[in-house]
């Protein structure tokens, strides 16, 4: 019987791929979308990319090749080669975040399934419909959308929506890496800088820095809400582990594999050991992202203890930017 859902995650390089237990996943996105200089980024090391695709497929999983979120002109020739390697090596799909890259890939490889990534800014059914004409077969809607809005796009356009169900949510992408300023002070060089445990904090909230990328400090967690996602017809789920360890990838993947199987079987209940695992890996706490139409770092659920924050102040004492005149 065909499994009713897909659980996937992200891996940037061969070292991480070989260190990771992939058995909990159905598909792997290969490559790092933020930076060409990321350690042995598969998008820049095309021999490694071939090996990675072969490794993933040898595990019986689907291999997807991702691409840069904000590519300048000089990225494009190498990116086109990476996409060609993806096709030659038998990748099952490529993921694009940049609409120019979407056009390039669709024209060069008309039959290649394309997954549209979260940085492509799909906010509406009309936007999704346009991208469908360029070969999109799956869409990660912009992370700011609620489940209600995502459901509307799903119904109108008829493409599967890929949902981030756990992990640090991308919040922005930059053209610059400010971590390079710290090479001397910290005694470490690129590409080691962005692999440190780095957070940017303001009072009660935090973001994780990966150099050119900014992720949510809290881990998005939809564990309690998987039955709703299933009921609304969603079947493609991502655990974002691009900045995480192989242990995170394994243990969080195991929780969601079990929980999704239970949800699709129509069985209720969340195991206490699942919470223990997720809390242990989420140093800043848990949130629901934007799925319930609220600010991304809020948590809605029957387990308020899940939002336990490592930061200093409770939400009620946060900086009032509006009062300070910072609203523009």
């Amino acid at each position: 019987m065909t499994q009713p859902f897909e659980l996937n995650t992200t891996i940037s390089n061969l070292r991480d791929l070989h260190a990771s237990d992939l058995s909990l996943y159905d598909a792997i996105y290969l490559g790092n979308i933020t930076c060409r200089l990321y350690e042995a980024n598969l998008l820049e090391h095309l021999g490694d990319l071939r090996d990675a695709i072969a490794t993933v497929k040898a595990h019986g999983l689907k291999a997807y090749v991702t691409s840069y979120a904000a590519p300048r002109n000089d990225f494009l020739p190498k990116l086109a080669k990476a996409m060609a390697v993806a096709v030659e090596a038998g990748a099952d799909a490529v993921e694009v975040h940049n609409l120019g890259v979407l056009k390039i890939v669709h024209e060069a490889h008309p039959g290649l399934p394309i997954h549209v990534g979260g940085f492509a800014n799909v906010y509406t059914d009309a936007g999704a419909e346009v991208l469908k004409q360029f070969g999109a077969v799956r869409i990660t809607p912009n992370y700011e959308l609620s489940l209600e809005e995502i459901g509307q796009i799903h119904q109108q356009v008829g493409l599967p929506m890929e949902l981030l169900v756990h992990g640090k949510m991308p919040l922005g992408i930059s053209d610059h890496c400010f971590l390079l300023e710290y090479e001397e002070a910290w005694g470490m060089k690129c590409p080691d800088l962005c692999q440190q445990d780095l957070f940017l904090k303001q009072g009660d909230w935090a973001m994780k820095s990966v150099g050119k990328g900014v992720l949510s400090g809290k881990d998005v967690c939809m564990l309690e809400h998987l039955p709703r996602l299933v009921a609304e017809g969603h079947t493609r789920f991502r655990i974002e582990t691009v900045s995480e360890s192989p242990e995170y990838r394994l243990e969080v993947g195991r929780v969601y594999r079990e929980a999704l199987e239970r949800a699709f079987a129509g069985t209720d209940g969340v195991e206490e050991r699942w919470w223990t695992t997720l809390r242990r890996h989420a140093r800043i706490g848990l949130c629901n992202g934007f799925y319930f139409g609220r600010s991304g770092m809020e948590y809605l659920g029957v387990r308020p203890d899940a939002v336990a924050s490592a930061l200093r102040r409770p939400v009620a004492e946060t900086t009032d930017y509006q009062a300070q005149g910072a609203i523009r």
Binding site: L76, L99, K103, Y123, A126, G172, F178, D197, R294, G296
Partner: protein, 311 residues
């Protein structure tokens, strides 16, 4: 209204106008065209938007001087809001506007299909950064694509080689840490929706999201101090990189690259700040057109606080 995707005969200086007074001084200072926000439908919120009446008066003033006016409709409307916005565009076309600035691929395609003669610009919020992006938005119906002033002359040259689309460069702008159009840090922290009376209950102003539905408003969390934590230890207090760019002294290279429109950011600029900026770019473009050297000008003397509190 004629579409003009033949290369511009001469560079167009496109200035922001966040109020009727700002429009007046921008035109006096030599802008070939101005762009305005329509209340409830532009990135950035109420600051820098015109009412329908103000838009009508400003349009008449621009046309009386032989200049053009574009309307920024660069939020991404929800499905229910989109129907209303498309009707508003038809009204705007009837008023004689010279084009719209749009942020969403879906809205762009719909407007192009419905109003094929409408001049459409792909907003800076589309985050186009390479020549393939330019070609993508052209294919959707954009007559012009805005690129950030952070691109090199070589990159602009490559973009200008894409046929049948004009290249606009936001030459005077604040370069924020996060690429424009690829940021939702504020809404991660706070997201509040306020109904917009102007939209007859059909729209919201969203505090925290620049683009998501209705009219978005960013509050600048990126421009406040952050504590940087390394492996559990607080190691620095810092601002994220953000800077005013205004490479007027490199204008010759930019225009030589084939750029059609020199665009200035700042619909929230007051008339007293806007006028000298427009005037300087007018003189620089005129010098380039005259074949002489662009006069050496110092970087524009906007005070540092402009990037933080006056945008």
């Amino acid at each position: 209204m004629a579409r003009f995707f033949s290369r511009a005969a001469r560079p167009i200086l496109l200035a922001p106008a966040g109020s009727p007074d700002a429009a007046k001084v921008a035109l006096q200072a030599g802008a070939d065209a101005i762009y305005v926000g329509l209340k409830g439908w532009s990135r950035g919120g109420a600051k820098g938007e015109l009412t329908s009446e103000e838009l009508l008066d400003t349009l008449a003033a621009a046309h009386a001087q032989g200049r053009k006016l574009q309307v920024a409709l660069n939020t991404i409307p929800r499905q229910s809001e989109r129907r209303y916005l498309v009707r508003r565009v038809e009204e705007l076309i009837g008023l004689g506007i010279d084009g719209v600035i749009v942020n969403d691929a879906g809205l762009m395609a719909e407007l192009h299909t419905r109003y094929p003669e409408l001049r459409i610009t792909a907003s800076i919020g589309c985050a186009a950064m390479n020549e393939a992006d330019v070609a993508f938005y052209r294919d959707l119906g954009a007559d012009a694509v805005v690129l950030p002033g952070t691109l090199s002359a070589d990159e602009l040259y490559a973009a200008a080689q894409v046929p049948e689309v004009l290249i606009e460069v936001m030459i005077h702008m604040v370069e924020e840490f996060i690429v424009l159009g690829k940021c939702w840090m504020p809404s991660y922290y706070r997201l509040n929706a306020t109904p917009l009376a102007e939209l007859h209950g059909e729209g919201n102003r969203l505090i925290g999201s620049m683009k998501r539905g209705g009219a978005g408003v960013c509050f600048k969390v990126c421009e406040h101090p952050w504590v940087l934590s390394l492996n559990g230890q607080d190691v620095a207090q810092r601002l994220l990189p953000s800077r005013q760019i205004s490479p007027i002294n490199a204008l010759s290279d930019i225009l030589d690259a084939g750029v059609d429109v020199v665009k200035l950011q700042g619909r929230s600029l007051s008339p007293d700040l806007l006028a000298p900026i427009v005037g300087r770019y007018r003189r620089a473009i005129d010098a380039w057109e005259g074949g002489g050297p662009v006069p050496a000008l110092q970087e524009l003397p906007l005070e540092p606080s402009w990037t933080v509190s006056r945008r």
